[in-house]
């Protein structure tokens, strides 16, 4: 297990180098010159050439790539062309917000997805099942930006229960404040987090609930379930310890993949809720052809995705002791 974990972690490095080379290549292929964008519509050709030189964009491509790979190995991702700060600082300032949003929506999606899926499965064919799955169908079909605007309209504009935009104190700091007797800080943070997390997580909740339902239905028909009931175990123990635990395996792997979807969806969610995360930075940097920043943001997204999926793979062994790693 330990050897396997170390091997997997080491494999992350070539993956990331591959991603860097790919993104670097893509940014070269896509038309559009950062120097021209930097100078705007009123730029002259000479001015653009001067800025290209200043940015080092007139160097041969292999030199640019080599320099970049070498300095990123030392933790220096270069300076953003447009933000007037190092890429690591620009990303560092926003990373926490995106992780907070993605984790909150994942927690929401897992909780709601498990609940709906289990309820639907044990009540198969009943009205509860139909309503749950109708809800799941809605969740799967609803685009995140549309849901975000609807939620804001209901809960912020009409009811005025929750703020429409912004973020409170980061959750860890807010929890610390609550523990030291200022619960208002945590309530404020959560009230800001709730709408974006629901908007972003609902789609995943729906996907998870459908998967849990079908996986549960399969398990509930297994012989050992009948045996468990025959032993006289209470229904709750059968459902949770016997059926759900065995049904979770396919669900776990989907949760890892959903994390990638959530990171992608965060881009839109952040725009709607004024959430100060990486998504907005990603969009702006791409449209500005801010090459170092695009590379940095993609690298961080890729790193997060890879780590989450590594964690998911390792979780398999915890959930199902039959699985052996080599």
């Amino acid at each position: 297990m330990l050897a396997y974990t170390v091997k997997r972690i080491l494999l992350v490095i070539p993956t990331l180098v591959g991603i860097l080379v790919l993104v670097f290549g893509l940014m070269q292929v896509v038309p559009g010159d950062p120097a021209a964008i930097l100078l705007g519509e009123q730029a002259t050709a000479e001015a653009i050439a001067e800025v290209r030189h200043e940015l080092g964009l007139d160097r041969p491509l292999p030199v640019q790539l080599g320099d970049y790979l070498w300095s990123s190995l030392r933790g220096d991702l270069g300076d953003s062309f447009f933000q007037n700060e190092p890429v690591t600082r620009a990303i560092g300032a926003r990373l926490g917000a995106t992780i907070e949003l993605a984790v909150a929506s994942l927690v929401f999606a897992i909780a709601l997805g498990l609940f709906l899926g289990v309820v639907a499965a044990i009540n198969q064919g009943s009205i509860i099942d139909v309503v749950s799955m109708l809800f799941a169908q809605l969740g799967v079909s609803m685009p995140v930006f549309w849901l975000g605007i609807l939620l804001t309209f209901w809960f912020a504009v009409e009811l005025n229960w929750l703020p429409a935009i912004g973020r409170g104190e980061p959750i860890p700091a807010a929890i610390a404040a609550a523990l030291s007797g200022r619960p208002g800080v945590l309530l404020n943070s959560l009230s800001h987090l709730l709408l974006p997390a629901v908007a972003l997580g609902l789609n995943s909740a729906a996907v998870i609930s459908r998967l849990v339902r079908s996986s549960m239905l399969e398990t509930l028909n297994e012989d050992y379930i009948r045996t468990a009931y025959a032993k006289g175990l209470p229904p709750s123990a059968v459902v949770v310890s016997h059926a759900l635990r065995n049904a979770l395996l396919p669900v776990i792997s989907v949760i890892g993949l959903r994390f990638g979807v959530l990171l992608g969806g965060a881009v839109l969610t952040e725009a709607i809720f004024g959430w100060p995360g990486l998504g907005q930075l990603a969009v702006t940097s791409i449209s500005q052809r801010d090459i170092p920043l695009v590379q940095g943001v993609v690298l961080v997204f890729a790193l997060m995705f890879t780590l989450v999926n590594l964690a998911v793979d390792l979780l398999y062994g915890v959930i199902d002791p039959r699985i052996r790693f080599e």
């Binding site: 519509e41 001067e50 200043e54 725009a271 907005q280």
Partner: protein
């Protein structure tokens, strides 16, 4: 069984119950703060290298220029109390006494010289460097006198001297004024949460008196509709263009908000590449313009957020003259004009031709603005119906702009912004060999007029000159101006004394108060 479900249900609604209907901190609104929604985060707060509207607006509050442009785009005293123009190539500015930067050091002629010298240095990569290129030297005559000598007469200069003056000592000492700006304006930076908000507070030592409104926050909400909703939810106190037409209509009908809807200082236009054989004949360009129904585009597609343009002269300029008119919609007249130019459907295939060549046009725009895409689709449709084979070429702004700047286009729908002076949308655009004359338009009379407009600082002369140039441009149609882009602002009517500015500048908030 129910116990299990109860636990699961509890987990599912954990978020809801924990958060509950907590009132938002922002919605409570402390009395002395104005929260303004913006669509992009500022890239920098250094006036010399600013690039985006949020930066312009924040910098306009944090820094002082030699002049300020008022709501009619006329220069009024800023750091300079007065100025002279003893000959067309010399400008002398007399600075206000006792003005201090936010760090307490006095603002001197050396700071003005430093700002204007560094912005012209290619190493700084300033976006607006070309606007100051006609400056030859800047001289600090004494502590409070600045003399600017020009390479050639350059009347628009005054409109660009609202450029924020930066403290020489701080920049030379390595202070990162991009992120920690030091100006002398009515507000100073408290903190800048990147990707979230810029928080400003009133400068108690401001030369024109400490502003009554103590705090201004520029809050980033990238999505237009979400920004409008945040205003309605009470999380913002003011929002401005860009806004979506349906939101503008809804907010106009809401008497909880005051508004100002006016013509801005930007245009949306069609640029004809006059170097292309099919478009080199002014008659053809005129005929194509006559096929386009501005009403449909401005009223239906832009849903009335813009004004129909009459010529290259903006209605917010002193030189504006409603009698100068580019071709207007006349489909029958267009057909006749094309026939006069030799384009007829001689082989009956539905496409006009001349000397065995089909009349084809490639129509391009960028993919970021859905209204522009809809507009080119509409134009394509009309052109095709009238026998002009029209292809669309749409790509994102960086690719699109890279191409047209090299002259690789036929007909494109684009815009010009920040047009504080007529020179800014004519000299580079229509003068033979001009920096932005990508389509190679050339007319000796226009060249002479634009040179005269640039060199004369007499308003009467400039009005006459730009009207004459606009008349020729309306006749020869290198540009067909579709609309003057509108500027809209909605705000809490409790903000009293704020005067909307067509550039979206917020400086009048320094004299405003919250009722």
């Amino acid at each position: 069984m129910f116990k299990t479900l109860g636990v699961l249900a509890g987990v599912a609604v954990l978020g809801f119950t924990l958060a509950g209907p907590a009132p938002s901190a922002l919605a409570q609104g402390s009395e002395n703060v104005v929260r303004i929604g913006t669509d992009v985060d500022a890239g920098t707060l250094d006036p010399r290298i600013m690039r985006d509207t949020t930066a312009y607006r924040a910098i306009n509050l944090i820094y002082d220029g030699l002049v300020q442009l008022d709501e009619n785009l006329q220069p009024v005293p800023g750091l300079a109390v007065s100025w002279e123009n003893p000959d067309p190539k010399t400008w002398i500015f007399h600075l206000r006494e006792g003005v201090k930067f936010h760090d307490g050091t006095p603002v001197t002629a050396e700071d003005v010289k430093f700002t204007l010298d560094t912005i012209r240095d290619p190493a700084l990569k300033a976006r607006f460097r070309s606007l100051y290129a006609p400056i030859d030297t800047v001289e600090a005559v004494d502590k409070l006198t600045v003399k600017i000598s020009l390479k050639e007469p350059y009347a628009p200069l005054l409109s660009y001297l609202d450029l924020g003056i930066v403290p020489k000592h701080a920049v030379e000492a390595g202070v990162d004024i991009s992120n920690k700006p030091i100006g002398s304006g009515p507000y100073r930076l408290v903190k800048w949460d990147k990707g979230s908000k810029i928080v400003l507070e009133a400068n108690p030592d401001f030369w024109d008196g400490e502003p009554t409104i103590k705090n201004i926050e520029l809050v980033l909400v990238a999505d237009n509709t979400a920004r409008a909703q945040a205003l309605e939810a009470g999380d913002l106190d003011m929002i401005q263009s860009p806004l979506s037409p349906q939101d503008i209509k809804r907010l106009q009908g809401n008497d909880k908000f005051a508004n100002s809807i006016q013509s801005g200082i930007a245009i949306t236009y069609l640029n004809f590449n006059t170097a292309r054989p099919n478009l080199s004949d002014p008659k053809v360009r005129k005929a194509l313009a006559m096929l386009i129904d501005q009403d449909t585009i401005v009223d239906q597609i832009f849903e009335g957020t813009d004004q129909k343009a009459t010529s290259i002269l903006l209605s917010s300029w002193a030189a504006y003259d409603p009698n100068i008119r580019q071709p207007t919609y006349d489909a029958a007249g267009a057909k006749a004009l094309l026939a006069e130019a030799g384009w007829t459907d001689s082989n009956g295939d539905g496409i006009l031709d001349k000397d065995g060549r089909k009349l084809t046009v490639e129509l391009g725009t960028h993919s970021e603005d859905p209204n522009r895409i809809q507009t080119v689709e509409y134009i394509q449709n009309i052109f095709n119906q009238n026998g002009i084979e029209t292809k669309l070429r749409i790509s994102d702004w960086p690719s699109f702009s890279a191409r047209f700047q090299e002259g690789d286009y036929e007909l494109i729908l684009v815009g010009w912004t920040q047009l504080v002076d007529p020179d800014r949308v004519t000299f580079g655009q229509f003068r033979t060999g001009g920096s932005f004359n990508w389509g190679g338009y050339s007319n000796e009379k226009v060249d002479a007029l634009l040179d005269e407009g640039r060199s004369s600082s007499d308003p009467a002369v400039r009005n006459r000159v730009y009207r004459a140039a606009a008349t020729i441009i309306s006749e020869e149609v290198p540009y067909y101006i579709i609309s003057y882009q509108g500027y809209q602002v909605f705000y809490d009517p409790a903000i009293e004394g704020y005067i909307a500015n067509p550039r979206g500048m917020l400086r009048s908030l320094k004299n405003a108060s919250i009722n």
